[in-house]
Symmetry: C2
Subunit: 216 residues, 2 copies
């Protein structure tokens, strides 16, 4: 049975989309192997012909699971959800499921892609103000949405895919020196979530490929 | 029952993400009302305080349905899928569902956001080569992925959310003068899909807010 083989995550410690998948695996209690793809070293290992075979978009993450190769973190997370037992990553109520997907996509389509490495490389010298602009613009929308949907977590009182997207995006915001305290709901949710082992243990500061000077 | 009220789509004739939702409604046979949000006129009607209440991201589409307001086209499409009968928009097989979501997200997170209006407005004079660069980069990845997954349509022989994303992205590519014939699988799928009434009738050239000189 191919489902008895451990999934293999091709990722990078600091990639927020890789971190999403690590959180999902941890919440579900799924063991997996990691293959680091260093996005900086050698001009970017995601650009090799070998990696392009795995993910033609030349991005991380990509997961080999059950005999197929999947890229795009939300597709991976929802595949895990639909094929693995354990803690639910999306609620059962259709309206709440839709809100989880909406918040996930505000981050995964509305914010992260515009401050992604390959976009910033194209922007060049102005990359920090560019990233700050789009993260702040996104958080200004996310804050009122989350005010409506949040309970203890992003949507109600159950951890979901929306939380899996939020925490790595806050990490990106902090990397780009965005003052997250302007967004009290986002800040509060992030703090609550960062107490949870699945979020802590999957953090960029403690992955197999985290450089020693960035470890904590 | 709020589900007996027609959904209301706030959209723009030429927005590829609005078109995705129009295709989904058409495939499901769902009647809906359209409220045009002109992204150009008056400096952009999506920027008004009134529209910001509907979608804080100040983007289209947003749909009012069953008493809730949803933005993000893939969240809307999957909500329709999970609450409405009729033609399936995602396959039942989990691996194929994952491939549909992967291809949808390559477009919805990997291509469209980077050539979105609000990004191009920030780019300024260089916007056409910028959009071409990221569309071509995305199609270079999409082509080999679709070669693996496609049958008659993007994933196998059933129309899915992946097709709903593909056709409007090809329309965007053509607007930016990208030569789609470089990508034979994409071109073939688009031609096949454009024969189908749900794709034709929802086309930007024939919406209530399409200007007369752009009608066909």
């Amino acid at each position: 049975m191919d489902s008895q083989t451990k999934p293999v995550l091709h990722g990078y410690f600091r990639s927020s989309c890789s971190w999403r998948v690590r959180i999902a695996f941890a919440l579900k209690g799924i063991e997996y192997d990691q293959v680091p793809v260093n996005l900086i070293k050698d001009g970017g290992q995601q650009l090799t012909g070998q990696y392009k075979e795995i993910n033609p978009m030349q991005q991380v993450p990509a997961v080999i699971i059950d005999g197929i190769t999947l890229s795009q973190s939300l597709a991976i997370i929802q595949y895990i959800e639909e094929t693995r037992p354990g803690r639910r990553l999306l609620p059962t109520d259709p309206k709440k499921r839709a809100q989880v997907r909406m918040i996930s996509d505000v981050i995964a389509s509305g914010i992260q892609p515009v401050q992604n490495l390959y976009v910033l490389q194209k922007i060049g010298a102005e990359k920090v103000p560019w990233a700050q602009h789009f993260i702040i613009r996104g958080f200004e929308a996310l804050e009122p949405l989350l005010k409506q949907t949040a309970g203890k977590y992003c949507v109600g009182d159950e951890i979901s895919m929306a939380d899996i997207c939020l925490v790595p995006q806050v990490y990106n915001a902090e990397r780009f020196k965005v003052d997250v305290s302007q967004f009290p709901t986002i800040k509060r949710l992030n703090q609550t979530l960062m107490e949870i082992e699945a979020f802590k243990g999957s953090h960029p500061s403690c992955q197999p490929d985290t450089p020693f000077d960035l470890r904590s």
